[in-house]
């Protein structure tokens, strides 16, 4: 059993416990947060918090983060705000985390008592990159920096805008998580020409797309005989294509993509 697999099993046990009535109080929290957010939160905790608070959340005398309850932050919203702004008059600084990262950190802080932190396993970004460019076949449609196709959305900064849990769900059910703006369009022009592509923008009179040859096309609706906007993503589900460990590696790679040149 891989270490990540073990991690997922632990979480599943928590969810089952919730479903069958509260047995272990410590697990009540777990089911409220997405496994991938907790996982990413653990990474963020290690990078941002552990230096002062310690790996086990007890590095500052009198503060036990593992209790999962905080007097200054009764709600998750309060906790997220506190993480963003810091606490004035204390050593707790403001952070520059994205909303998705803040949510992930909240998820981990609320659940960290359920785990022995050093044993929590997370995916490996470098392995994930290999999967992205190799076995996963992602670059056939997606692009990161200068590599890959432009047919599907560019993912160079996907980690800056999307959390781990969203990306985890995306890999499993691409259609459910497709942004409406990105929907595939099939256009039949009055001239007889047929165009397929991904929607970039649309208004009352026109449609902007990138087609399967990566051409930017602006189409006036007055020239269109018929066009359909599909609600089904052309992206396959990776549930069967990749093992759980590989999915975790891929997610780790994607959340590491923060853009910038």
């Amino acid at each position: 059993m891989s270490r990540l697999h073990f991690f997922c099993v632990v979480l599943s046990a928590g969810l089952v416990a919730l479903g069958s009535g509260p047995r272990l109080r410590a697990q009540d929290h777990t089911g409220n947060y997405a496994p991938m957010d907790i996982q990413n939160g653990a990474l963020l905790y290690g990078a941002n918090c552990a230096q002062c608070h310690g790996v086990g959340g007890d590095g500052i005398p009198g503060i036990e983060l593992k209790t999962g309850t905080f007097k200054r932050a009764p709600t998750d919203q309060d906790l997220a705000r506190l993480l963003t702004t810091g606490i004035a008059g204390t050593a707790m600084p403001a952070t520059q985390l994205s909303p998705g990262e803040t949510n992930a950190l909240v998820a981990y802080l609320r659940t960290m008592r359920d785990f022995d932190s050093p044993k929590v396993t997370v995916g490996a970004p470098a392995t994930g990159r290999g999967l992205f460019e190799g076995k996963g076949g992602c670059t056939a449609c997606h692009r990161v920096d200068a590599h890959g196709s432009r047919v599907a959305p560019d993912l160079s900064d996907v980690g800056a805008t999307r959390g781990a849990d969203f990306l985890w769900r995306k890999l499993q059910d691409p259609t459910a998580t497709m942004r409406p703006l990105d929907r595939p369009v099939h256009v039949q022009l009055k001239s007889g020409k047929v165009v397929d592509g991904r929607r970039l923008n649309e208004d009352t009179y026109s449609l902007q797309i990138i087609d399967s040859q990566e051409r930017l096309l602006s189409i006036m609706k007055s020239d269109v005989k018929e066009f359909t906007i599909s609600r089904t993503s052309p992206m396959p589900s990776y549930t069967q294509k990749l093992a759980p460990q590989e999915l975790a590696d891929l997610v780790s790679y994607l959340v590491s993509l923060k853009g910038g040149i």
Partner: protein, 548 residues
């Protein structure tokens, strides 16, 4: 010809003097504004709120020859929601939040600019906006987002007096264009998301001294206070942020009022919550309430009734009748008798499910949706502040509306804290990660998409509520509507398109792309016999006329 002779005689003087002979804007001119369609003397053009002009040089046959005449680029990134005034060839408008500019209406060249300095901290719910000016004599009047009223000399741009209307630290602001009636400047206060207690007030145009005040949320001992449990009236909302109408014959001024506070938890203020979400008819001299009609009692959706009251004299059941048309944010279209507020007719103009209908008195039969279910329309409503128009020639009422737009509402408990937003809940978008309201300042890409709701201009027959025609748009719209005696409909879209439609058939006659959302009402005027149309889009104002 007279004007041309004058130019020759006083040629030397013209180097420094205005080109036009400015007559004072008298109270009488305001009453008879429809008789001088070359000017646009109040926010809605005329007191009746019809946004209908007798100008007809631009018509359905030549609209295709419209071209850009000039552009005013505001030095502001705030949403451009003002409707300009035009008085004898000079245009006065505001750039967000509270700068005033006077321009040559023919060329767009600027005479003067007045910059109002705001405090560094401002509490205003939904953007630091201003919807325009009022004018009397040679004086302009502007409300400010820090809740003051300022009088400005129309020739020099210098401030004359400044009056504090309310306390901005508590969330009170003035975003509405005031309305001058006789010798008074009338306005209301914004701040419905801050637990304010809304009011209307009139100020002496000469001195700025407050003359009367009508408390929209009544206190103990005043009629209507019984519709508020305990002390909930103290933070009962009832803001006013869109300019009302005035009937000189009845001497009544009509204003729409905003949501009760807190916005989304009606359980904590059980009762009708008067006079929120209502139209109030006030005596223009005293501010006394003559009648009211409440559209959404105990509102839990933020359905502000701040639309422009549209007054018309029509034949109703074979009798001449003074009526008021109202397409409300709650999704119903209403016809009221404006002499006494009697409900004459009402019908949904969009799909809605928060009510199953209206009873014989026009009161909604509310059908709150179960927790987690979608409510139509969403919090931004079936329509909103963007002005509708009535064309007496076609007998049709034209309104920009949002269709298939919904939210999932939830309530929370929230303690009132002075100066903090007081909303007690939210309206969430119906799709994962979807916003509840598309932002007014978003970029040129329609990330909102049609799945969240679409825009439409609807021509409503007020006698039946039937849709005579519909002009659908991919994105929702925040554009007001203008109609003219040449039977065209002038409007725009959030997409940045500005278009002219046929008033009878609804077909597109002309369009152009202005590259930024249109968030106010187009208006029209004429200088030297030439008709112009002005519209704000993005951060600029564009003025069109026929090709020379």
């Amino acid at each position: 010809m007279r004007r041309r002779s004058l130019v020759i005689i006083t040629g030397a003087l013209l180097i420094t003097a205005p080109i036009f002979l400015n007559a004072q804007v008298t109270s009488d001119r305001l009453v008879k504004a429809a008789d001088e369609p070359q000017n646009w003397l109040t926010y809605n053009g005329t007191y009746n709120g019809q946004r209908h002009s007798a100008l007809k040089q631009i018509n359905s046959a030549n609209a295709k020859n419209l071209e850009l005449k000039w552009v005013f680029q505001a030095q502001s990134l705030g949403t451009f929601q003002a409707t300009p005034l035009v008085v004898d060839g000079i245009m006065y408008t505001t750039q967000a939040p509270n700068d005033v500019v006077a321009l040559d209406a023919k060329t767009g060249r600027v005479f003067w600019m007045y910059r109002y300095t705001l405090p560094s901290e401002i509490r205003v719910c939904c953007g630091q906006v201003n919807r325009g000016l009022a004018m009397l004599g040679d004086t302009l009047f502007m409300g400010t987002v820090d809740a003051h009223l300022i009088a400005i000399d129309a020739k020099s741009g210098r401030p004359i007096w400044k009056t504090k209307v309310a306390e901005n630290a508590l969330g009170y602001a003035v975003t509405v264009a005031p309305l001058v009636v006789k010798d008074k400047v009338i306005l209301g206060v914004a701040g419905g998301e801050y637990g304010i207690r809304g009011f209307m007030a009139a100020f002496d145009a000469k001195t700025g001294k407050e003359v009367w005040r009508f408390k929209i949320i009544p206190e103990p001992g005043e009629k209507g206070n019984e519709t508020w449990p305990g002390n909930t009236w103290e933070h009962g909302g009832g803001s006013v942020w869109v300019t009302g109408a005035y009937d000189p014959a009845l001497n009544l001024t009509y204003w729409g009022t905003g949501n009760p506070g807190p916005d989304w938890n009606p359980d904590v203020r059980k009762g009708d919550n008067l006079y929120s979400d209502s139209v109030i008819a006030l005596d223009a001299d005293t501010g006394q309430l003559k009648w009211h009609f409440q559209f959404t009692p105990n509102d839990g959706y933020d359905y502000d009734s701040v639309q422009v009251p549209v007054l018309a004299d029509i034949t109703w059941n074979n009798q001449p009748r003074k009526v008021m048309f109202w397409a409300n944010r709650n999704g119903f279209f209403y016809v009221l008798d404006r002499t006494d507020g009697k409900f004459l007719f009402g019908k949904p103009f969009i799909k809605l499910n928060w009510a199953s209908g209206l009873d014989a008195n026009g009161r909604p039969i509310q059908t709150p949706q179960p927790a987690g279910a979608e409510t139509f329309p969403g919090l931004a409503g079936g329509t909103n502040w963007f002005s509708p128009s009535f064309n007496p020639r076609t007998g049709l009422f034209y309104v920009s509306a949002w269709e298939n737009y919904r939210n999932i509402f939830s309530k929370t408990d929230q303690e009132y804290q002075a100066g903090r937003q007081y909303t007690a809940g939210r309206g969430a978008g119906p799709m994962p990660t979807s916003p509840n309201v598309p932002t007014l300042r978003r970029g040129p890409i329609n990330t909102w998409t049609e799945e969240m709701g679409t825009g439409v201009v609807i021509a409503i027959d007020p006698k039946t509520g039937n849709h005579e025609w519909r002009y659908p748009m991919t994105d929702v719209t925040d554009s007001g509507v203008l109609t003219t005696d040449s039977d065209i409909v002038i409007t725009g879209s959030r997409e940045g398109h500005f278009h002219v439609l046929d008033a009878r058939a609804g077909n597109l006659l002309w369009k152009t792309s202005l590259g930024g959302p249109i968030s106010s009402g187009p208006m029209t005027y004429a200088v030297d016999g030439k008709q112009y149309i002005a519209v704000n889009a993005g951060n600029s104002m564009f003025v069109f006329g026929l090709r020379d």
